[in-house]
Amino acid sequence: MLNLSTAVFRQLLAWPILLSGALWLTLAYNLSFDKDLGAASLGAFLSYIVLASCALILRFGYVLQQRRQQGWLRQDSLRRTTGRAVIAEAGAAVCSLLLLVVCAQLIVLAFNPAVNGQSESHHIVLSRVESDNSWAFNWDDSIPVGSKLCLTFDFENAPKGVIESSIAVKQRSAPVTAGKIFYWPLSADDVRDRTITLEAPAEHNISLIRPIARLVIERPPISALPRLLLNQLLFFFTAIALCLFIFRRLKVNGNLASMGALAISSLPNLKGSHLLPDVGALVACGLRFERTALTTSNIALFTWLAMGAILIYISCKNLVANKK
């Protein structure tokens, strides 16, 4: 088994591919953290690593197709040890991704780059007026529990002498003072619902100064990079399994199988898509990274991994003969 896995791994990461990977990592590091070129952001760095992982999945599909042309699939089916070959192929692909994320971590550890010093990021959320004294806010991504909604209320039309009021969400309430910024920490329920409705006492007649609010979200520190990279690896595990399933069971060309696997894996990132577990945050990168990183629920993650394991198991089953 190890012999098989090593052979696929060597085929997957031939010298030109290794060299390209090293160059890409250097470029990614410079474009992300260089003080003149980059955004000094982990999100930018992670987006380059996601691109490299996608390229590796495409390469995996190419190698699968190559192996089909080299007769390995027929040998495998003839010798009736299908499971061994599939596990070796999946293992080689996971190991190559592991190598990529380990190298990405090592390069950051070695050079210890400076990242954006602000510990919080700010994102605009538009309000929707529900009634004269209630306002709803929606956001699309899953965000961390404890993020704060930040807004300012206008007491101009309030009854004379009223400079304090209260804002309520369901059973909870918090005081609000004229001229002061109001912060509402989001609970697990608010985060799960991706919406919140703030309600003020009708008799106080207060309103929002602007129909917008800021979401204040804590940025993951650079020390969270290993976990963020591991999340990427876990996300792409199921993409690898999907690629193997499409290639082996649906008998599709390997290159198309890898493209299909990437396309299907990207579905959790689509807004309003409930076809697959909500694991888009595992590969959050760029600007979205600051909102959604490390917000994937354990249930969604384990469902996603279980899907990958099931797909590999089904791929291991002996192939049904073709109809000519």
């Binding site: 012999n3 080299q70 010798r79």
Partner: protein
């Protein structure tokens, strides 16, 4: 106790055959060596691929030993690895409870001197020897050879003849007439006789 036949085909209709075409039947025991002769396009390769399980028979029964060696008409080989690596990887694909000796298999067709060479760097004839040798890996009980004489020189044909003669497995050779395969085994039948 009688040993089960290495291959049994009963009233098999191949994928390409019409509904009124005659059905194929054949039974072969371990140790049988048989050459099936048929002209181009008569369905030899389709039959071979059905026996190997790559194609589905439309109807009928196909039973065969679980340990099978197959020499394809067009060899599909990984060209970028060495002969030795290829056999090592094939051993990894074989079940653990059978005898797997890659060195012995390479010796059968004099491949040992070329063990370290990349398959892609070898001539078509040597590639055919690799294609033949891999069929004997994993102690097969049934060996199917589809036009095995392709690209073989007289030395190669002699090796093949000797290996077939020494084998305890059931060996079935499929070839068009007058290709030299007639010298490999003593029992010849026409494809039409299977119907």
């Amino acid at each position: 106790m009688t040993t089960p036949p290495a291959l049994i085909l009963e009233n098999v209709r191949l994928a390409w055959q019409d509904a009124d075409a005659p059905l194929l039947s054949i039974k072969a025991q371990a140790g049988d060596k048989l050459l099936v002769l048929g002209s181009n396009g008569c369905g030899k390769t389709t039959l071979v691929e059905t026996i190997c399980g790559y194609l589905q028979a439309v109807s009928g029964t196909v039973g065969r030993s679980s340990r099978i060696g197959y020499v394809a008409q067009q060899p599909k080989l990984p060209t970028s690895i060495s002969v030795e690596d290829y056999f090592e990887q094939l051993v990894s694909l074989c079940a653990d409870d059978v005898v797997n000796d890659p060195q012995q298999c390479m010796k059968l067709f004099d491949l040992t001197p070329h063990a370290k060479r990349k398959i892609g760097g070898l001539s078509r004839g040597w590639q055919q020897r690799i294609n033949l040798a891999q069929a004997w890996l994993g102690d097969p009980q049934l060996i199917i050879l589809d036009e095995p004489q392709t690209a073989l020189d007289p030395d190669g044909m002699t090796s093949l003849r000797n290996v077939i003669a020494d084998s305890n497995a059931c060996v079935l050779i499929f070839s068009p007439p007058q290709t030299g395969c007639e010298t490999l085994v003593d029992t010849h039948i026409n494809y039409s006789e299977l119907c």
